[in-house]
């Protein structure tokens, strides 16, 4: 393109790096319908997520029509059952708040609303995850916003 007098006034999308964001969680081991399709699949899925820094999980309040377990597993066996952090989970449509500071398993029969989940403090990374009796996550979830419709 020939040298222009006014081209300099046009600022196209600049090539800049995405702003650095703090890593707050890292995916870990998982079983999901796509990972087990070649062995026939299971009516079950779970994941482990490494919780690295404080954040709020993205899931809105919701409930499932099948059993779910949520778990918090510490990574320091010598200080068991200390979680190495603090999480707060809202249970029920009342958003009843529960604080988790130790290893914990939360048993959620069908229909119990849960979330938000707030990872408030992370002194030492720990694992959080779910185990749901369905081939994939969300396949049987109802967001709270749909519950009254």
């Amino acid at each position: 393109m020939a040298e222009s007098k006014y081209g300099k006034y046009i600022k196209s999308l600049p090539e800049v790096a995405a702003p650095p964001r703090r890593t707050t969680s890292l995916p870990n081991i998982t079983v999901h319908e796509s990972t087990v399709a070649d062995i026939g699949g299971f009516d079950f899925n779970f994941n482990f997520v490494g919780i690295i820094a404080p954040h709020v999980l993205g899931d809105p309040p919701h409930k499932h029509d099948c059993d779910e377990i949520l778990f918090f597993i510490p990574t320091d066996p010598d200080n068991y059952p200390d979680l190495g952090g603090e999480a707060e989970i809202a249970l029920g449509e009342e958003w009843e708040k529960h604080t988790i500071t130790t290893a914990a398993v939360i048993c959620l029969p069908p229909g119990i609303q849960h979330a938000p989940i707030y990872m408030k403090r992370v002194d030492k990374p720990f694992y959080f995850g779910h185990m749901l009796l369905a081939a994939r996550y969300g396949s049987s979830a109802t967001p709270a916003s749909d519950l009254e419709q």
Binding site: N28, V31, F44, G50, G92, M131
Partner: protein, 139 residues
């Protein structure tokens, strides 16, 4: 803590040691779980800090089971720092696990022993099974 409606669904970690720990195996427990709110699947976990053999005899179950091996350093999720030899099938086909992995064991499939041959870094060994009772059937 004041009485709550949903607190009964939370099983919290307990300090109680199990009597079945071997050297290098730290099994950590939850407070008396009672009925797990009627849920029928389970998980438990152990911390493996030195070489050890678990589940010595080949066996199977009437339920699906998932053996999970991962790191105690979630910030480096692709590094296990250990080598585990696992036998699968009646043939005792040997497999080496040296990255964070899940072994999916459909009901009826023979497996074990689980041989933690090399443990440079501690391993989180989590057992998930789709039954309220853990029952082994000899191969």
């Amino acid at each position: 803590m004041a009485e709550t409606k949903y607190g009964k669904h939370i099983l919290r970690g307990a300090r109680k040691e199990t009597g079945t720990d071997k050297p290098g195996v730290k099994t950590r427990t939850l407070e008396e779980p009672e009925d797990w709110s009627g849920i029928h699947h389970r998980l438990n976990w152990k911390y493996i800090t030195q070489p050890v053999i678990l589940g010595e005899e080949p066996h199977s179950h009437d339920f699906d089971e998932f053996l999970c091996f991962t790191t105690l350093n979630p910030a480096e999720p692709k590094v296990l720092g250990a080598e585990i030899e696992l036998s699968l099938g009646k043939e005792e086909e040997k497999h080496i696990i040296n990255t964070p992995s899940v072994v999916c064991i459909p009901k009826g499939m023979v497996h074990s022993p689980v041989n933690f041959k090399k443990v440079d870094k501690p391993v989180l060994f989590c057992n998930i099974y789709l039954s309220p009772e853990y029952v082994r059937k000899p191969a």
